[in-house]
């Protein structure tokens, strides 16, 4: 795929890519000239065909779930069903204005309401809000709920949140945004929460413990009930980061594990596409004691149908301009409706089976920091390769590109050195998983025998090892760049 010039390079004065009606009432607006622009913005002026070609070319420069195996750990890059796309784009969803009166949106409110109920059942919670736009906003919402809960109870001392060192970065960041102090605790030799360490960390100031289960190592926190007990003993809340729920659908429920509040990533577990970085949806589920604090608006149902109500005096307030990421919620709704109870469970079983098969195939060639059966993902370490021949985890990741695979997540979780975090979702066939195993095995051999092949990877991509230091040292973040002298120059090619 050759390089593609910037869209601006197709721009010529007098070209256009739009088609608009003529005004029926050519009246001038009454805005005083000092409020108006003096020069038009420098936007591309391009005919439709060249816009199409430009973005088709850009699309061709992407790896995506639809082009191949994308074993990005912690991200659950499962297949995004095409049916869900068409449904989210039906005019009856797409063309709904968020301020429409409720009597005109009963259909979508019913979908919302049913989705809330289904999520309650799947996760064992008492109520859900669909409002949060992504996992991180879900976490933040949850932390605000906990804060509001303790404030309501007059327990201002509850100002600390404990987080394992294996946690995702959004956890501490969200806790902090909700005004909590963050206390990080180390995982134990099993890669799990050490009850002992936790017990020591917990104090009267502890407001919450944030936990992913299975955790970011792909391991199930077997002591979860004891963990819950430790927290609840000091009146603290247990938060579940739902990013890894793809391992346990229909098998085990956070609500039954003692979690008080959870978030779930619909764009992971429930198959909605990641969009190149979003949108997502991060609904938050709570046990009954937290219901009064849920964000508004909330959906109510009575004999007259569905309503959106803001009448919850203890609510933390509003999290988004409007209700939620409807397009994402609808896709997840359709996914659950199609798979049903058995299908969801089958998905989790197959995800876990794929991961264990792959781990099994790789465990001789790579170091497995925490052995045993994993859940839907696992973490390898390239420490051995690094030691023996200087081949790093990143090199292995890059080398996988030459085999036609997207690399796994690297250098996360932070507690594993040279981490390769691999998640082969249930939608990947055994053949595909085998091919990936073969590639990683071959790379392990290469790392020994011809380490430079790995260190200099990738060899087949158009772009190879961009200079990230340069990017940060001399930020060029827009064209024409306010940073560079070359702002007159358009594209390359």
């Amino acid at each position: 795929m050759p390089l593609e010039p910037l869209i601006f390079s197709y721009s010529r004065k007098g070209r256009k890519g739009y088609s608009l009606p003529r005004p029926f009432h050519p009246a001038p607006h009454s805005i005083p000239s000092e409020s108006l622009r003096t020069t038009p913005p420098f936007l591309p002026e391009v005919n439709e065909q060249d816009v199409i070609r430009h973005f088709v070319h850009l699309s061709q420069m992407n790896f995506a779930v639809d082009t191949g195996f994308y074993p990005l750990g912690s991200c659950t890059m499962k297949y995004n069903p095409k049916l869900n796309e068409i449904i989210a784009n039906l005019p009856g969803i797409r063309n709904l204005h968020p301020l429409q009166p409720v009597e005109t949106v009963q259909g979508i409110l019913q979908i919302y309401s049913e989705l809330e109920k289904m999520l309650c059942e799947i996760f064992g919670m008492d109520a859900f809000t669909l409002q949060p736009a992504a996992g991180a906003q879900g976490e933040f919402t949850a932390m605000l709920l906990i804060r509001a809960y303790f404030q309501k109870k007059g327990m201002k001392q509850k100002n600390q949140v404990i987080i394992p060192d294996s946690a995702h970065g959004t956890n501490p960041a969200s806790a902090r945004m909700a005004g909590f102090e963050v206390h990080q605790i180390p995982s134990d030799a099993r890669g799990l929460v050490s009850l002992h360490t936790l017990q020591k960390a917990v104090t009267e100031r502890t407001a919450a413990f944030m936990l992913t289960n299975p955790n970011t190592l792909g391991l199930f926190e077997q002591d979860i009930l004891k963990i819950a007990e430790i927290l609840h003993n000091v009146g603290a809340q247990l938060f579940y980061d739902g990013a890894n729920a793809n391992a346990i659908l229909g098998i085990s429920r956070p609500g039954d594990m003692g979690f008080d509040v959870i978030h779930t990533n619909l764009h992971k577990t429930f198959s909605t596409p990641h969009g190149g970085g979003g949108p997502g949806a991060g609904p938050v589920g709570v046990k009954s004691h937290l219901i009064p604090f849920l964000p508004v608006p909330r959906i109510l149902h009575d004999d007259n149908g569905y309503h959106l109500s803001e009448d919850f005096p203890d609510s933390i307030g509003r999290m988004k301009s409007f209700f939620g990421n409807t397009g994402v919620l609808v896709r997840a709704y359709v996914y659950i409706r199609e798979l049903g109870a058995e299908g969801l469970k089958a998905a989790s079983q197959a995800a876990v089976l794929n991961a264990n098969y792959l781990l099994h195939r790789l465990k001789e060639a790579y170091q497995v920091p925490y052995p045993g059966f994993c859940k839907h993902e696992f973490v390898l370490s390239a420490e051995k390769q690094k030691r023996e021949s200087g081949v790093r985890g990143l090199d292995i990741a890059k080398r996988l590109m030459d085999f036609g695979f997207h690399p796994p997540t690297v250098y996360f979780p932070l507690i594993v050195k040279e981490a390769l975090m691999i998640e082969p979702p249930e939608t990947e066939s055994l053949e595909q998983v085998k091919k990936f195993a073969d590639a990683l095995l071959q790379i392990a051999v290469e790392a020994k025998e011809t380490p430079d092949v790995v260190k200099n990877a990738p060899h087949t991509t158009e772009i190879q090892r961009p200079d990230e230091a340069l990017a940060a040292r001399k930020p060029d973040l827009a064209f024409p760049s306010p940073y560079s002298q070359k702002s007159g120059e358009i594209g390359w090619n």
């Binding site: 739009y18 608009l20 009606p21 029926f24 009432h25 009246a27 607006h29 009454s30 805005i31 409020s35 913005p41 936007l43 816009v51 199409i52 973005f55 850009l58 699309s59 420069m61 790896f63 995506a64 991200c75 995004n80 049916l83 784009n89 204005h97 009166p101 259909g107 059942e121 736009a133 906003q137 976490e139 970065g169 199930f220 077997q222 429920r253 969009g275 190149g276 970085g277 979003g278 949108p279 933390i316 509003r318 988004k320 301009s321 409007f322 409706r337 049903g340 469970k345 197959a350 876990v352 089976l353 059966f373 066939s429 772009i463 190879q464 200079d467 990017a471 973040l477 827009a478 306010p482």
Partner: protein, 460 residues
Amino acid sequence: MKNWSVGSISRYLPHTAEDIEEMQKELGISSPEELFQDIPGEVRLHRPLSLPPPLSEPEILQDVGNLLERNVFWQKASVFLGGGHYVRHIPHAVDFLASRSEFYTAYTPYQPEVSQGTLQAIYEYQSVMAQLTGLDVSNASSYDGATALADAVRMAHQVNSRPKALLSRAIHPHYRQVVRTYTSAEGQEIQEIPLQDGLTSLSALQAMLDSQTSCVVIQNPNFFGCVEANLKQVAEMVHRQGALFILSVDPISLGILAPPGEVGADIATGEGQPLGNPLSFGGPSFGFLATRKEYIWKLPGRLVGRTVDRNGKPCYVLTLQAREQHIKREKATSNICTNNALGALRSLIYLSLMGAEGLKEVNLLSSSAARYACDNLTQLPGVHLLFPSPFLFEFALQLPLPPEGLNSELLNHRIIGGYPLQKDYPEFKNAWLLAFTELTTKEQIDTLCQRVKEWLSRAP
């Protein structure tokens, strides 16, 4: 859970019975039980989930189709609602390109070698947003207009650590609520600048502004559709106190209104829906957030930069990540991870098609439709413009009676009327906010006027 549920249950699950057999053998297991043995029995679910029975594709299409029959929506009805989300024309080319699955089934471009498409698109997006806002740098997207604004207020706090943010009462009420939610925990105090004639009161602002002020936030055009006057003067006032000036703007209006950077704003934010994103009942679209280069290290959200690869080829990467949660954890500028990249991509495609000329035309079409509607509606007895200030494509009317009754009446004629202001602004009784766009036709406005007239004539 003795047996595998997998097999040919679903078109999304490729594992055949033989595949499972082979994998079990390799693993030395004979049931799924063994893979899940680390889950204690007490936290196992010992029954099937109680969900509605699974449906096939044709059944889902029919089922959802039936549900959606219960919605009324633009295309089936005329819609005069605005408030940040507008019934704007989306060229089909936008849908076509954004539905290329190389875009929408990719994730955050962590690996630049296999993500140049997304990365270059974000760089181009940052470029056009910098152009529109007149600022140096835009993030790769926020969730929506309200969270972008909340992020901006938090960002100002991170810049100058001052305790007080002043928000105009003419800002979208939901946005103000979200700012409150977002800042509630970190101890920032939010004060509201009162209104004067539908604009932010500058004299009140003058009185409130002090050295404890972290930022001043104004929306333009404001929630009532009015174009805020004297923004440069505000900027000077704000800067004199060492505070940051934040503008929440409608991106379409930037086609003709003075860009935030030019009037002296330090941060501009807004809702991206009008730029080629479907209404979708409010989401997903995206929020934008742009600022001056001196504040770049405080910017929340992802950034893409241009660089070269090891062979000297120009290319793009995620950059300045040391602001972000995956590196900085609790010290990050924000917790954002997944953002709304696809909505931002749509806006880039939209702006590439429209160009400056197209954007101008959209403004002129919308404002002339609004003008026409205003001229005609205000001729009806008892109907007045609520505010004297100039508006662009949205304005508030004062009606003689509560607009709720009118709206129900209009609904019978497949018209979704304006937004009653009283709920959010108790001081404006019987006020009705109406929006117009390039898609509003003369016929729709004429019908609206006719219906309002009839309603007035029947009114007690």
